[in-house]
Structures are given as C-alpha cells and as structure tokens.
Symmetry: C2
C-alpha cells in the first residue's frame, strides 16, 4: 500500500480517472481527497469528493450506478489516479455509459471543406 | 467545433486524459490551456501546458515520443478532455508505455491474510 506516494493538490485533492475494467472505455473523471481514497480501498466502491457540495460521495449511492473497483493505479508523479472498475450502470448522470460522449471535430474527414469532398468523390467515381 | 463548451479552471486550465486509440490503455494525464487545445486541434499533435514550467509543450518535442491525436472528447461538465492518440513511443518519461505503471494493492488476493492463504493451499492440495 503505497499511499504515501499519492500527492494531493493545494485543495487536498487528486484527480481520479475511471475506466471500465472490461471494455477499457474511459467513463469519467472525479476528485478524491485522502479519506475518499481510503474508503475506496476499504469498501472497493468508488468514492469521491464533491468540490461543489464539499462532501464525500459514494458513486451511485442514490442512482444505484455504483462502481466496483478492481484496480487503482497512480502515475509517475503520484498526482493522478486511474481506477479500473466494473460499473453497475452508466457512469454519467445523463444516462450515457461514459461522461465523454461528445467530441470536438478533429478527424480528417470532418475537417474537409466542400471542395475537398467533391474532389474525393470525383476521384472515387473516376476510379470505377 | 464546440470549443465554447470547454470550461477552464481558475488557472485557465483543463485536465486532458490521454488514451491509446488502438489498445485503449490510459497513458497519462496532463493539462491544457485554450492555446494548447487549439494547437492540438490544428496540428493534431498532443500539446499541453506545463504548470511547473508555465509554458506550452508539444508532447515528444525533444524525446520524439509524439502523440498523433485521433479524437478529442469532453465530458458532461465540459471540464475534462479525453484525447485518443496513436503514440509514437512511450508516454512516460520513465520509458514505461503508460505513466500509470504502479498500482495500489486492492485485489482480493493481495488483501488475504496468511491464514486464508494457508487454507486456500490446503483446499487446493486436498482437491488433488
């Protein structure tokens, strides 16, 4: 138990990334204080610290969408945690499996202008 | 491009989780300011903001271990990013593929007392 390796920020918190143990999908990120981390280790139920409510929260305590923690890793700086969990329902309050359900346009196709798309279509048809 | 949905903290930063696009392994977490995010979107090379050096850094600029960004998602609160990348080498300065190479003991076996282990061994031998 290398708890002394974990470094908390000036607010006494450390970010915790939550990943599905089976699918490896990244589900959410939340914050833990030392108590939340110890409770998570003891109960094996993901427990965080709510910065808005300034209180501990057991994930899924009211919704039932708890997260059974399989593994906790920490990074080279000791200032970020990675929880691997078996989730008992969606991670997001919106009902999405993951909180990261929206993306910023980045893939090449999405960035193509109309002319480029027409040129690609032209090439495609010419090839047939 | 929903850049207006991204919420930066009081220091003007947003945490960015980096995941391998192919293997889905979580590689690291770093911070971005608005400029780093825009540069990442423009160049498709993961670019962060170093809190210690107070400067932008293109990941792998000196080591060569760049990260080609395939996709950027943001969470329901808009205050965390998830980058999916094709890494050109290890993410960690230690040479490990991922910065999360160490774990806190949590799995059931690791928590077993000596007597439980002896009992398990006894049962195993008795079964043979």
């Amino acid at each position: 138990m290398d708890l002394e390796n974990i470094k908390y920020n000036e607010a006494g918190l450390v970010p915790a990334i939550v990943q599905d143990y089976e699918t490896r999908q990244v589900l959410m990120m939340a914050w833990m204080n030392e108590e939340a981390l110890k409770l998570t280790l003891d109960t094996k139920k993901a427990t965080f610290y709510s910065r808005s409510r300034q209180a501990l929260w057991v994930k899924g305590e009211t919704s039932g969408n708890t997260q059974a923690v399989v593994k906790i890793n920490y990074d080279c700086d000791g200032d970020t945690l990675l929880l691997q969990v078996n989730p008992n329902g969606p991670a997001c309050h919106t009902g999405n499996t993951s909180c990261f359900y929206r993306s910023l346009a980045i893939d090449q196709d999405a960035n193509l202008g109309n002319m480029e798309i027409l040129t690609m279509l032209y090439d495609l048809i010419a090839d047939r």
